[in-house]
């Protein structure tokens, strides 16, 4: 088959905060140094810039101020400055405010933003610098020659579900680049492939993830003051479950409400969406939402492992930046500024390598030095062990976090973690005796506290209704973009874990239908919101997320 090819100097895969900061930094370097034009292309799988961007979000503007010093004059959409921080410990009925706000959760000088709006603005800045952003094109495969990455192949369009060409067929394009910067986000499909192929995670701690579920609400304007940031710990999570809720109040009664859960829980019947619903029904949250209206829904995974889980972020011809590389501070619950910073440093590395005509692994290795000398390490290194400490439970984690703070992160030993999905226990080992495990396995609407929760369609919704508000859309007649070894589902995963995919997926993609008394996994791929949780959390690691046809997926306007 004849494929079109496009040659550029630097290809950036992913038009989020990391990718667009990389592109803007490249344009700046070009202006500073003059000389031969370094050609740039940015690939983005969403139809429009920002459509797949989801975050809390509170932005630490430090990196933005360096990248675009006049960001205020240029109209950066920063909804409001944070002027009030609150942290609560929740019990079933009550909320105990923390008397002092733990320093990592102090947000003075930060901004509440819509990441969707922010990224749209960043994209406009990049386009005004003459950078080509190819929206609607997903990076499907890495192009590899010898031992180096030479670019990316975009996905074919117009393939039907049997894999045959439709009349609208268009083959993907090979974009060849001297340096490919992978900013494909948390559990990016290309980064995953790169890490596997070159074993870039060797000698590092296993990656750790969490899932964040968020709704955007419109509530009466006098309900909560704009600029208020609230975080919670405790209920509805149990002591061995990591995570908490957040509420960020923006002007005009817009309220972000969300819940983050570590993807390392043990209970196979745990459902993050149920935890989110319970959080919303807690009196502290319910009184804020009551009478308001949910206007958007979304979910995304977060890399939470920290410094010790960051892989070697370069190989011949490729660099990794942003969430894809795990650059997120889970203590501060912030990653946007680190994504931007690593994108900028990757751009500097790529620029030097292209100019000196050495894009080998050695030529790109200076990226690590740049990271080590930058604010990325200053911020992430001291808290490198904290997430792993929570592996010993909430109280051990909090104690460690406190000690860590007092000592400035001086702790001689590296705390080891295990991949979160390996911590999930079977029904039998979690729920004890065989009979209850059998009962739970045969009854998807199980009596477990964490597996089900009635919805009232006012404050709480079922997943299917929520999915509608994500705006997600996929052509039904295309090859599945969730590759699942389904033979494991019925024979092993069902009896042992009770099909946890039906619970950890926040978008009702996985459904068990009973046909002739036998369970069959039905994959509603068109519901997918691209959060990657299934790729991360399924206990047998048999689910692989690949991009659907470009331009499809959620529409996170205002998220």
């Amino acid at each position: 088959m004849q494929r079109e090819t496009l040659d550029v100097d630097v290809l950036i895969v992913g038009g989020g905060p990391a990718g667009l900061s990389a592109a803007l930094r490249l344009a700046q370097l070009q202006k500073q140094h003059g000389g031969a034009q370094v050609s740039i292309a940015v690939l983005e799988k969403a139809r429009d810039a920002g459509a797949h961007e989801l975050s809390g979000a509170v932005l630490d503007p430090s990196t933005l101020a360096e990248l675009i010093p006049d960001f205020r004059q240029r109209g950066a959409p920063l909804a409001t400055e944070v002027h009030s921080d609150r942290v609560y410990f929740l019990t079933t009925k009550h909320s105990l405010p923390f008397p002092i706000i733990p320093p990592p959760l102090r947000n003075h000088g930060n901004y509440i933003i819509s990441l969707n709006a922010f990224v749209r603005w960043l994209a406009a800045q990049a386009e005004s610098e003459g950078i080509d952003i190819f929206t609607g094109f997903a990076g499907q495969d890495l192009l590899i020659e010898g031992d180096r990455v030479v670019g990316v192949r975009t996905g074919d369009r117009g393939i039907d579900k049997r894999g045959d060409q439709k009349p609208t067929f268009e083959p993907g394009v090979d974009i060849r680049a001297k340096v490919t910067v992978l900013c494909d986000g948390v559990r990016g499909n290309l980064t995953k492939e790169l890490l596997r192929r070159y074993q870039l995670g060797r000698g590092r701690e296993p990656e750790q993830f969490a899932i964040g579920i968020k709704e955007l609400w419109e509530v009466p304007r006098d309900r909560i003051e704009s600029g208020t940031v609230m975080h919670s710990m405790g209920y509805p999570l149990r002591h061995d479950e990591f995570g908490g809720g957040f509420l960020y109040a923006m002007p005009e009664g817009r309220l972000s409400v969300g819940f983050v859960v570590g993807l390392d829980y043990k209970d196979p019947l745990f459902d993050p969406h149920v935890a989110f619903n319970r959080f919303k029904r807690h009196p502290l949250v319910a009184r804020l939402l009551d009478g308001g209206q949910m206007v958007r829904y979304g979910a995304k995974a977060l890399p939470e492992g920290g410094w010790n889980t960051v892989p070697q972020p370069y190989t011949a011809g490729a660099l990794i930046a942003g969430d894809a590389g795990g650059f997120l501070n889970s203590m501060r619950l912030k990653g946007i500024h680190l994504a931007m910073r690593t994108g900028m440093l990757a751009a500097e590395t790529a620029f030097e390598a292209v100019r000196s005509n050495d894009t080998s692994a050695a030529g790109l290795a200076s990226y690590t030095d740049k990271l080590d000398r930058s604010a990325v390490k200053t911020e992430l290194y001291p808290v490198r062990n904290v997430h792993q400490a929570f592996g010993y439970g909430l109280f051990a984690g909090l104690t460690f976090a406190g000690l860590n703070l007092l000592t400035g992160g001086r702790w001689p030993k590296r705390l080891n973690g295990v991949a979160g999905y390996e911590r999930m226990q079977t029904l039998r080992s979690y729920y004890g005796d065989a009979t209850s495990a059998d009962i739970l396995a045969s009854n998807p609407a199980s009596p477990s506290q964490s597996a089900s929760f009635p919805v009232d369609r006012r404050l709480t919704f079922d997943k299917l209704t929520n999915v509608h508000y994500s705006g997600t859309a996929h052509d039904e007649n295309q090859p599945p973009h969730l590759l699942v070894h389904t033979e494991v589902c019925e024979s092993i995963c069902g009896p042992e874990y009770g099909h946890p995919c039906t619970r950890f997926c926040p978008a009702n993609v996985y459904e068990i239908v009973h046909e002739a008394g036998r369970p069959r996994l039905q994959i509603n791929a068109s519901n997918c919101v691209h959060c990657k949780t299934c790729d991360i959390m399924d206990p047998y690691a048999v689910i692989t997320w690949v991009p659907p046809e470009g331009g499809q997926g959620p529409q996170y306007n205002g998220m």
């Binding site: 009349p167 609208t168 369609r457 299917l464 209704t465 509608h468 859309a473 509603n524 068109s526």
Partner: protein, 323 residues
Amino acid sequence: MILLIAEHGRGELNRATWETVAAAQLLAKRLGGLPIKIVVPGGSDPVAQELAAAGVGDVVTLANPALEPYTPDGYVIALATAMASLSPQFVVVPHTYQARDFMPALAARLNKPLITDVTALAGSADAPSFLRPMFQGKLAAEVRPDGDPPYFVTFQIGAFRADQVQRGSSPANVSTVEVAVDRSAIRQTPEAPFQEAQRAVDLSQAPRIVAVGRGIKSQEHLPLAESLAKALAAELAASRPICDSGWLPMERQIGSSGQTVAPKLYLALGISGAIQHLVGMKGSRTIVAINKDPDAPIFEVADYGIVGDLFEIVPAIVTELQK
């Protein structure tokens, strides 16, 4: 005189032209018996003969090699010339993709009014008007053309019935008129036509729909819903789980990943009313829901709701309808 532009391609008449013949006859009658003339751009002989055989009006073919294959510029030039000599009062065409392509240009070229996607006729003999949908069918606007004729009108597919064409007793005259078309004024070069796989059923045109959901429980129970659909002369449709299971083809799926419909009557059997389904049917004129669960969201949009077992209620309705 009402001038009807026939649509044809690859030597075959587009069937939608017959619907427009029916509409033109109703319009002619309303205006006190105006004659109808049919013009076939690009002069395809079998098409002209087929139309003439029906005896509904004179058939004129506009002959010029530049009219085959179709280009919007070629049609606009040829038809604008023909208008000058024929001076019709109304120019009517089916609201096809091709009409959407050249009709606005033709009307603009002659600076005459164009009323598109018409579903019904209204007004009086002196002041005829046309109904056309607005806001995705939520409103019907009555539009009257202004200024001097000719007035250009396109008729929605399915709004008029081809089988109600009044056929004449004897074949009509067929004549050929040579038109001048300056080839250099045609700016388009057509490629071979391509067609997406066609939908076998177009639920959006059905006046009545019986839709089934998970509550039907198994494929063996589908004939029950079919019997109700037959008794109501309705189309059978379904919510997503039914089509996902393969019990009905995907083209009968209603909702955000299927078709959007707004029939006069929508009967939901055992459909809980997930929002993805509701967005595909909430524009229906009258919604009747039968569901066991009184809290099912479908009842929030239903005009009439029956809480109960569809396996008892549906046979009872069928029996009543058959009386």
